[in-house]
């Protein structure tokens, strides 16, 4: 097992790193706004690429949903699904397109249960805004530009909305870990 897989299979430190980033990055917003999204990205991208590229094989979509997906990058999916897995996953959990690769969504599902963001796996992720492709997600996140829903809906919805509670047995939605 490579170091990369080990880290992703034991996501606690990565989740901790994300929580830290979630606190720090919004404070950088005034600075990023002054520089502009492109210039800030040019500066931030190198450290981001070294960190996220080496651990997650980050594809620079700049709309990061790693922590919603068990610290597994969905842009490595050959179909680049944001709401996977597709119906083509092999019975052994490998990708239909690359038989040697684990399906990132199957992995993400397993790993997300080890994090406190397990419920986020039920999130309806909006489609990728390809204008942001190649920028730094730390900048787009800080500027509140990374998870924009389009059309007439404001805000993100969850699959659990369709689950009729009160039916037995209890719904599959896992409780958030305390």
């Amino acid at each position: 097992m490579s170091i990369r897989t080990y880290l992703q299979d034991h996501p606690a430190p990565l989740v901790w790193a994300w929580q830290l980033a979630e606190k720090i990055l919004p404070r950088m917003r005034p600075l990023f706004e002054r520089l502009g999204m492109e210039r800030s990205s040019a500066i931030v991208k190198l450290p981001e690429e070294i960190f996220k590229g080496s651990i997650f094989n980050c594809q620079d979509c700049a709309q990061c949903i790693l922590h919603y997906n068990g610290m597994t990058c969905p842009m490595n999916c050959p179909k680049q699904l944001r709401n996977g897995p597709c119906g083509g996953v092999r019975l052994n959990g490998k990708c239909e397109v690359k038989p040697e690769m684990d399906c990132v969504w199957v992995k993400g599902y397993e790993r997300s249960r080890k994090t406190r963001y397990a419920h986020e796996f039920y999130r309806l992720n909006p489609p990728v805004d390809w204008r942001l492709d190649g920028l730094a997600s730390w900048v787009t996140f800080a500027m509140g530009r990374d998870q924009i829903t389009t059309g007439a809906e404001n805000g993100i919805r969850y699959a659990t909305e369709a689950v009729r509670t009160g039916r037995k047995p209890a719904p599959a939605a896992p409780k958030e870990e305390k």
């Binding site: 083509g88 369709a162 939605a173």
Partner: protein, 327 residues
């Protein structure tokens, strides 16, 4: 540098159109409490209108709606929309399939508008097989959005008369009965029902499943779906299909994405002669169909005959589902 990537404008005030796709034939059949039947039509490879007409003549009357596949198995066929229009003009109710593989948001929405203009009101939204499975493995796959977002886009066009960019559609909204697919036989099995829930929230109104051969696994899946209360919000149509021969069974097991064929079926077909294999395949399909009909939450069948459209009328008749109700 600011302004190269504009900050998003807030979406236009949505217009509540009040449309729900209730005029679609499949919606009416389901609402009337009938057990629905969808039949798959394969567009021809080549500009062959006669082949379409042949299938129309063969299948007319055997389904409540007819799925027209969109470059199935990532192999070039006549366009789903074109064949759907031919079906509509012949008095059949087509379900246009939209895959995310070949078109981006612009193309998908354009074809949805076109379908609506011809009075087509069933659509099915799916991700689509990867080109690597088809006859153009060298092409660039699009996958601009995924099936969940495609469903959501279609629903917002109908419910709120807005495009995916948030701008209003002038005057008319398309009235679609929106379908989606799910494969109960692909891992992670325990998550699959929640993916159905995701599609319900996105706007799916009926779900067609992958071909069922492993009934036990499907039963497990449906139990979960019923436990979550999803079957009350979406009509689940179970996918069944006759296998013509052992060769087809082996082909589907190995070469078609996401189909699971248990060894018991291969064992059952392998000692038989060619004609007996076809007969056994037909019987097997009816057996599976009769079993899934009994499962709670299943509200219809989706009959897919891989390269064997002639068998469909026989299957529907054998199951006692012919003639179809007029609603």
């Amino acid at each position: 540098m600011n302004g190269v990537i504009p900050t998003p404008v807030p979406p236009a005030p949505p217009v509540n159109t009040g449309l729900t796709g209730a005029n679609a034939n499949l919606a009416k059949v389901l609402a009337a409490g009938h057990f629905a039947v969808c039949v798959e039509v394969s567009p021809p490879v080549g500009p062959n209108a006669e082949a379409v007409q042949k299938q129309i003549n063969l299948l007319k009357g055997y389904g409540d709606a007819y799925n027209v596949t969109d470059n199935q198995s990532a192999t070039v066929h006549m366009s789903s929309l074109a064949v759907s229009i031919m079906l509509k003009q012949a008095g059949l109710e087509p379900i246009v399939q939209f895959t995310c593989r070949d078109r981006n948001r612009l193309g998908l929405q354009a074809d949805m508008l076109g379908a609506a203009a011809f009075g087509i009101n069933h659509i099915l939204c799916l991700t689509g097989d990867h080109p690597i499975w088809g006859d153009h493995p060298q092409c660039k796959s699009v996958y601009d959005m995924d099936s969940v977002n495609l469903i959501r886009m279609a629903r917002m066009m109908r419910d709120w008369r807005v495009f995916e960019n948030g701008k209003n559609i002038p005057k008319l909204a398309p009235d679609f009965f929106i379908g989606a697919v799910e494969n109960p036989f692909a891992p992670p099995f325990e998550y699959r029902p929640m993916r159905v829930a995701k599609k319900i929230v996105a706007g799916a109104q009926f779900i067609q499943t992958q071909l069922i051969f492993n009934v036990d696994r499907f039963r497990e899946f449906m139990k979960r779906v019923v436990d979550l209360g999803l079957h009350e919000q979406v009509a689940i149509l179970a996918g069944v299909g006759p296998i013509k021969s052992l060769k087809v069974a082996e082909f589907m097991a190995n070469e078609v994405a996401g189909v699971e064929i248990p060894q018991s079926i291969i064992d059952r077909l392998s000692p038989l002669s060619k004609e007996d294999q076809a007969k056994a395949g037909l019987d097997l399909c009816c057996e599976v169909a009769n079993q899934v009909r009994e499962i709670e939450g299943v509200r219809g069948l989706h009959v897919m005959a891989v390269n064997w459209p002639d068998a469909v009328p026989q299957v529907v008749k054998n199951l006692g589902l012919f003639p179809r109700p007029v609603v």
